[in-house]
Symmetry: C2
Subunit: 264 residues, 2 copies
């Protein structure tokens, strides 16, 4: 039984295993309690990733193994004890990044009432934007170009991790639907294929079906907020003052509230 639990938690990514180990008080995994060595190792992995992210923030997209090692007071070859590859490290950073984003979104959503659609829209939008602004390098890592040498089609796929973010976003409307509410989006041009999509999506949400038009409005939300975040983050809105950007974003939230039918 514990075994099955672990299978669920350790999502095939070594990284999660590391996070797990870090907390010495965690319930025993596999069969044995984590040894001291295990915990030290996990802490080192965490330090590598933290250092790598700092390097990304400071020196831009080209991440050098030697730099990370030097910064940690190690030599470069030592890193190969923890990550088989430069790609594997980058992949781990992406997995973590998506997880952090999912966390940021869910905790923002948790601060709003489950059936308060407008409040949830505001909370999620602000959280999304702030997640990007808080660490532009991380946002770039997740949503910018694939890093040099890190093909999106490589075996280190970040797809499942990105799915976690999407699942968190689905929480925006999911709890509203679960509370029996049925908001009417402003635009309900729902294509025929969306009935099938809704079924697929329901599978990751305990079977709760989100009506197709509501789900589409959620994707409108995503597109709008993501678009704003990308523009702002990649310097395409720098011809306007920051205050103007803030006001623009407020207006955009107001629009989304109406668009998703959260104004009754």
């Amino acid at each position: 039984m514990l075994e099955t639990n672990c299978q669920g938690v350790i999502t095939s990514v070594m990284t999660c295993y590391a996070c797990f180990m870090l907390s010495a008080t965690a319930p025993d995994p596999d069969d044995k309690a984590p040894s001291r060595r295990d915990r030290v190792r996990a802490a080192t992995i965490e330090e590598i990733k933290t250092t790598a992210m700092r390097m990304l923030r400071e020196h831009g997209a080209d991440l050098r193994f030697a730099d990370i090692a030097r910064d940690m007071g190690m030599t470069a070859p030592a890193l190969y004890r923890y990550f088989a590859d430069r790609d594997e490290l980058l992949s781990a950073l992406m997995v973590d990044g998506f997880a952090e984003m999912a966390d940021a979104l869910t905790s923002a959503l948790d601060s709003a009432a489950p059936d308060d659609l407008a409040g949830r829209i505001r909370a999620a939008a602000i959280a999304y934007r702030d997640f990007a602004r808080a660490d532009p390098s991380r946002f770039s890592l997740l949503f910018g170009l694939p890093n040099p040498g890190f093909g999106r089609h490589s075996e280190h796929s970040s797809g499942p991790a990105a799915g976690a973010t999407m699942a968190a976003l689905e929480g925006l409307v999911l709890s509203v639907v679960e509370h029996g509410k049925r908001p009417t989006p402003l635009v309900r041009v729902v294509g025929t294929t969306w009935a099938d999509e809704a079924g697929t999506i329901a599978q990751r949400n305990d079977g709760t079906r989100i009506p197709a038009d509501i789900y589409q409005s959620l994707l409108h939300f995503l597109a709008a907020v993501h678009g704003f975040a990308c523009l702002e983050n990649f310097d395409h809105l720098n011809w306007v003052t920051e205050q103007s950007r803030d006001e623009l974003f407020d207006a955009q939230i107001a629009l989304l509230v109406v668009a998703m039918g959260a104004d009754q």
Copy 2:
């Protein structure tokens, strides 16, 4: 007088000069007619850029001088006769890319009546999305991460070129306003700073002032469409069929039509 014209056309970027030279029938520039050598040189520059774009498309973000040269039947050092730097070449590609995007948007807008706001919204949105899909590498070059080694803060700024795209987009609402129409956006939460912005923006549009709330709705349009294009282009919507993406985009256009007050 001709001189002044040229100053306007040749926007301080050598690249445009090259395009100019290419057409042998162009009106004489500076003072002398372009010599044969000049035209050959311009054609070579064009070939380099075309080859470079193909390399970007085929081999991803890392653009190698040696590859370009080999593909053209030249040696790498020869390229330095045309571009001082790898950065300068990339910068030229970006300038061209933004210009192409501006062209695509304006010609799409020209296919709709000047006062038909809904038609212009549809035309521009589709053109924007198609521009991205037609050449994902080019779209990535313009809106993805800064390419490795190409700092956005380097002296080869692409700011002015990106501005051309924005100006093209302003054409969406500009002609409507010029025709005396005054659509009412759905959401009119216009912050105080936008009065100033409107003045600045008017300067690049022959002084025609676009009302602040309309301009904001244009930026909502940009954010939504850009967000969709980014998601679709960077593989974050691949968990849904292409048909569903099409339908989603249609719905998004419908929403923008309502949001910008194009449904009367």
